[in-house]
Symmetry: D2
Subunit: 169 residues, 4 copies
């Protein structure tokens, strides 16, 4: 039986997991950084990490979103954190709505977890807390806030997430 | 008027804010690291930081706890994050119970925020999310978990927080 | 008059100064990181930083190398650290040989200075020491070693610098 | 046979290796950080690390200094980096003078290597370069400079190393 606080992490790629190769001057999605972040956070709950996709979020297709949804629906866990590229995170969040008794939190990072200064650790911390505390539903934990799916967008000019309907700066 | 997501941070000292002075080989509580952590987390909500105390948690007295409680009770804000030393964090959490319509989350760190490897960033991320999402009440966000006040203790031997009543490893 | 330990830094781009932009998924040469690295190293000697070029080292031309050489030849300083991309660092080092009474040390990084784990800080530390201690001439400080210009190459497969003539592993 | 670039590291304690224990609120000398620093610097030369002492530099005695000197004198290596607490580093440097054909560089850190911001990595980079490049003798690599033993002191008020005889700021 899964413990009450068990969280299933599903990684799909995105900036949070980007790595840099000097020889070819490339910057590609690498191994998931979630495990390192949880270790640094001294997290002591039970979890499992499923590396489902390995893509920039602009390349995530409708089929990919269905695959994530199916993966969650078929899983006995009740709490999920999905790491995802930021550009289409709101679309994926909407595609996961309506699964009963599941608390699903999407998060990611605006700069890679391997950077000296990164929002990745803070964001995964937020996602882990939201997955434990929030009512069943779909959420995005970014920019220091926990947003509900369907009411959040990425403001690319300001490089932050905000509630749909917020007045511009 | 405060925005719905406004969080008041109250800092009281503890390991999270420890700094080291070479000359005297001392290690003392320094300036609050909360602002730096929120900046690194690219947090874009409204907040205010009140540096209320500057103590190791073993030195926190009943008067100090009353002072924290009075500070929160007198404040119009509804969401609070209290940074605190870890050794007596559960006692302070209990001393803050019973304030109506206030969501209060205590957090801190087992290693200082100025360290290269620290749980401080992850923990403040958790606390910020819990302060936004949790129902009114008092919580501790440590060890990757959000605990309810009155049902959590620090296991010093294992150097982690756990639910009271958990079986030992 | 310049102090005996004065070092002139010339930055030309390369991985050491790479930055990442999420929106466009680009990775470009940014502001020089030398100043931040010297601050972290608590360096207390006199120095000046000249941002001369802003290029990946594969794009450095013969004209660029002449420009670096002219810049050094015309300068009254005797000690120079040149930050440079790694792929053609040996070629630029050779192009700077033969300037009398000048100690010139080229360095850079295999992973960007902004990364949490980077060789940039160590390498600039090596370059600063070599510029102060070595006899006039041209050197490369990389891979934990100070090489003489003309006798060093980048082993791309092993991703390290080595003396020309070293036996393969 | 030792390679020409072989460096023997001797660690003696000091701030560079300090670690912090939350439970007891202690800050003690821990395992040597030299190996981690060399790995981060992508150093590819041959080396060996000897953990000789484990002390704050104010506790280093005349016997300890003789022990370090004997250790170096009896060793076939020609290049040595000695990590040491900063407060009495100049005294130890003087105690190591006069060993023929040995290049000995002392270094350490004003803030621990485990800190997010530390001079340890830069300083060990300097020491490694100086050990390879400098003529036989004893040196201190701190504050961005390579000083000769006997002509350097720690300015505690300014928290930096400087040449004896330097005018005050």
């Amino acid at each position: 039986m899964l413990s009450a606080m068990f969280i299933k992490f599903i990684t799909t790629g995105g900036t949070i997991d980007k790595i840099y190769f000097d020889d070819l001057s490339q910057f590609e999605v690498g191994e998931s950084q979630v495990q390192h972040i949880l270790a640094e956070g001294l997290a002591s709950f039970d979890f499992e990490i499923v590396p489902l996709l390995h893509k920039d979020s602009l390349e995530i297709t409708a089929e990919d979103r269905q695959k994530i949804r199916d993966c969650i629906a078929a899983d006995e866990a009740e709490r999920f954190v999905v790491t995802h590229g930021t550009d289409t995170m709101p679309e994926t969040a909407e595609a996961l709505m309506g699964l009963e008794d599941k608390t699903i939190v999407l998060t990611g990072a605006l700069s890679p977890a391997r950077f000296r200064t990164t929002d990745a650790v803070f964001n995964v911390g937020m996602a882990v807390a939201a997955a434990q505390v929030a009512a069943p539903g779909v959420y995005i934990a970014m920019s220091g806030q926990v947003f509900e799916a369907g009411a959040v967008r990425k403001n690319r000019a300001a490089n932050r997430f905000e509630t749909v309907g917020d007045a511009p700066d």
